[in-house]
């Protein structure tokens, strides 16, 4: 597998991606011919009403779930052709994750959690890169703490640090602010933004929150498994309007 460095390649895209759960009469088309791009070095938000297929899209692009038809590319790599072992390697080296909750291994300290992908891969971390992440995320004095000793916002910052640690081609964030108070949420969004602007990372974020979506460079609107709109330069008001038209609850 060519290991194109994060600095030279990145982003992800789908082509005619479809995902069907079940079969026959009970079949549900969660994604129906989705072709989108998460451009390199950009912050893209995915929005849509409940059941629109946001999470499914993210899972498929992240290699957590397999497509029924269509293609998914991470960098130049087509995921459909990869075995479980190759997907594991891909996730470990080229994809980062931040979830809504349950992001960290409770028995490990913050530092150990951040280093986890490298530990599993048996590779040496890039200390300089790590130093800058820790500095940007303001975790310097929290590295020896366990998740239970950290606030929700701090936990999410550790998760973000872990996602950044391998310099992935793309970071997926699934409702990263869903479990946080507004101040901590704003902090995490600011950091995601900084990751894109200052650390040249690529971020895709699923969210319900128009304020959160407004931090992105572009917003992809999904409804019933299809892309219905792509908005660039979003503001909270415009996103809220668009969601209202889609009949979304928030």
């Amino acid at each position: 597998m060519p290991t194109t460095g994060a600095a030279t390649a990145g982003g992800a895209r789908t082509a005619g991606l479809a995902k069907v759960y079940g079969s026959g009469d009970t079949a549900v088309r969660a994604l129906d011919g989705v072709s989108v791009e998460f451009p390199r070095g950009r912050f893209t938000a995915i929005m849509g009403p409940s059941g629109a297929g946001k999470s499914t899209l993210m899972h498929c692009v992240a290699g957590l779930d397999s497509a029924t038809s269509g293609q998914v590319f991470v960098g130049d790599e087509e995921l459909g052709a990869l075995s479980d072992r190759q997907l594991t390697k891909l996730r470990r080296e080229r994809i980062g994750f931040v979830f809504q909750a349950f992001n960290l291994i409770p028995t490990l300290t913050a530092r150990e959690n951040i280093l986890l992908p490298m530990t599993l891969a048996g590779t040496k971390p890039d200390q300089e890169w790590l130093g800058s992440i820790v500095r940007v995320l303001g975790l310097g004095d929290r590295l020896g703490h366990r998740p239970s000793e950290l606030s929700g916002g701090q936990q999410q910052r550790v998760a973000l640090a872990r996602a950044l640690a391998t310099r992935p081609q793309i970071i997926f964030a699934d409702e990263p602010t869903g479990n946080l108070d507004s101040r901590s949420g704003a902090e995490v969004l600011r950091l995601l933004r900084e990751a894109v602007d200052e650390l040249r990372q690529t971020v895709a974020m699923v969210t319900h929150d128009p304020v959160a979506a407004a931090h992105a460079d572009a917003v992809i609107f999904l409804a019933d498994g299809q892309v219905v709109d792509i908005m660039t330069g979003p503001t909270p008001a415009r996103v809220l309007d668009r969601m209202g038209e889609l009949g979304g609850t928030s």
Binding site: R92, F99, L120, G122, R162
Partner: protein, 840 residues
Amino acid sequence: MTGPAFTGLIVKELWGHRRRLAGSLVAVFLGVAFLTGTLVLGDTMAKSIDRFFANAYAGTDVTVRNATTVTDMPGQLRGEIDGSAVDRVRAVAGVAVAEPVVQGSGQVLGVDGKIIESDGPRIAGNWITDPELNAYQIVEGRAPRTPDEVVINRATADRGKLKIGDRTVVLTPQRVPVTLVGITKFGEDDGFGDTSFTAFTLEGMRKHVIPGDDKVTAVTIRAASGVSQETLTERIRPVLPPGAEAVTGEELAAQDRERVDQFLGIFRTALAAFGGVALLVAAFSIHNTFAITVAQRTRESALLRVVGASRRQILTLVSAEAVAIGAIATVAGLAGGIGCAALLKLLFASFGMGLVAQGLVISLGTLLIAAPVGLVVTLLSALGPALRAAKVPPLAALREVAAERPGPSDSRIVIGSVLAAVAVGGIVWGALTESMTMAGAGAVMCLIVMVVLGPVVARPAAMIAGAPAARWRGVPGVLARDNATRSPRRTAGAATALMVGVGVVTLMTVFAGSLRASVEDGVAGSFHGALVVNAGSNERGGYNPRVADEVARLPQVENAAGLGQGAVRVGSDNADVRIADPARLGKVLALDVAAGSLATADTFAVSQDAADDHRWRVGSPVPVTFADGSKQTFTIGAIYRNDDVAGDYLMPRTAWSAHNRQALDRVTFIELKPGASAADAHKAIEALVKPYGTPEVQDRDAYIASQSEEMNAFLGIVYAMLALAIIIALLGIANTLALSVHERTRELGLLRAVGATRGQVRSMVRWESVIVALFGTAGGIGLGILLGWALTRALGNPFAAETLALSIIALVGALAGILAAIRPARRASRLAALTAIAAP
């Protein structure tokens, strides 16, 4: 893949979850400790016995003895040979010393005037003056010099509270008044196992024990220096009288050792079987614990997969946990095993079965068996859950996952049912055709069925077991029942361990109960008199047969008949014979004569079983070889059906005494005259037997009960050993509950938040535990009864399930559930409502 960093991760994970490992750790520890204990005990006994024999024949180069054997029992005396052998052997070149050995039965009376109890042979013999040929040495006092002086071994002296200078009596079985002049030791030990050894001078033996002629039991020979044992044996052989043989000292030790090893082998196998049961129960407990913990950390495994852990790494993580538990518990278990062996020794002693075991022998073999077994059992138990953990998809990290797979699959139900049908079929078939192999195979299969079908049965079983709680214990009862039924796999896993333990206990209870019933019914069915004089359980003890004659002359007594025991060869087989006056015995015992008649005192009679086996009828000739080597053909005069008291062969005393000295009776059956007072007769007989070493006078009920006394001791030991398996099973239940409580932290918090009291939460957990325990106990009892029935039927015994014993087992099972719940219930009830809800 497993670089140092990943190893560090494994260690971190282990340390972080150390609490949940504790339960499994203790289960494996107990199992390994017990197994090690049984192995150590077996080795210790073997070593001690080896030492005994090494000492017994240390200085003996050759022994000349009777070539005939009539028994497989170790330590039995052979018949006598002609005394001329001594002088003939002395004349052989290369013989440095040859001394006659004259031995017979001799029972010393203690200070209290009773025969000193010992489980081994009670031997009187001549004090051999050559110290190298004598395995005993005097440690206090001096050797006997006159015919009325004796020395006895330390253990016997201590037990009878005898001191040097004491005057006492040796029963041969005549009363021989003697003075104790010395105390002996057998090498380092206070005796040769449990043998009581009283030494007279040779003259004393000839005067009191083996009177009259110049017969000897053996000649013991020391070779001149430079003459090998084999050479000397070759030289001695030609001068031997007919019927005698010469054997080297090494060969003697080897023969005796081999005989003991056979008995020891059975004992060791039985011990190891109990160790196996304990480990099996432990395996079920560990498996269940792993299954639960793996399910509980599904999300964690999935998260690891998301950030890039491979399946192999997840498998490694879980396996490492198993290896760590296995290794730590095994090492601790090996150490604990030594203590366990000491406890087992105490246990046997407390049930009146003193073991020949000095010190504790820890052999390499023990380590090589116990260590891998402990590790492998743990690893195998964790294998399934570990593989399941590795299969967790990364996506599971993002879902609210169901902790465990739901209800049982159809294939499980089908396969389980088929297996169950085959297992039960095999057991029933084996029982009806009296085939142990078939019944045994069915029993093993039952285990598999339990594993397969457990989760299927768990839900309905827990519903039934929980019905009373749900009905009468209000909301906590209902919740307890629902909790027990909601993950049938877990309930079944916890209950299965208990089921195995209780199953084996029940099996043993049913088996022993049936055996006891069989013996007691047989004895009760044949003896209808009022009193017996009983020499006790040692087959090598007994009293003067004159007791029966004297008792018969008492005014209260209608009939009395003594019964002795001995060994002969019938054809080419060793056989036990009972010795009596058949005519008199026939009057006090209902032997249920099927053919012929016991009318005369010289009738030779056999049991129906023996007759069937050999196709004998009344009038058939039976070739018998006595211990002294002489042969005699008896003609069957009667065949009887009731062999519980009379055994397979009933030999007239006159015929027996012609070839054996020192006839002893082990029991005298007494029938009183109509209207005679049993209490008066009891008193009169007790006075009468005093000079005969005071054997016990028992009424009929006490005698019948005494017949199963040994079995009670045996059962006691079995229970004590199985108690460990039950304890391990309880730990399993406690562990499962603790994990469930942890998992339901939120739920419990919610209950507290909406107003459940601590007591109610406690009660809920406790009842869940009781329901699981009841399920396990009931299943175990059912299984045990089925297997017990099959086993007794396969052995041709009547089936007797003792309701009282089984009720106690059921009660203990339920109590066990309460015990297991103590800690988890306390933890559950102490959760503060808010923290519980806020828990991640």
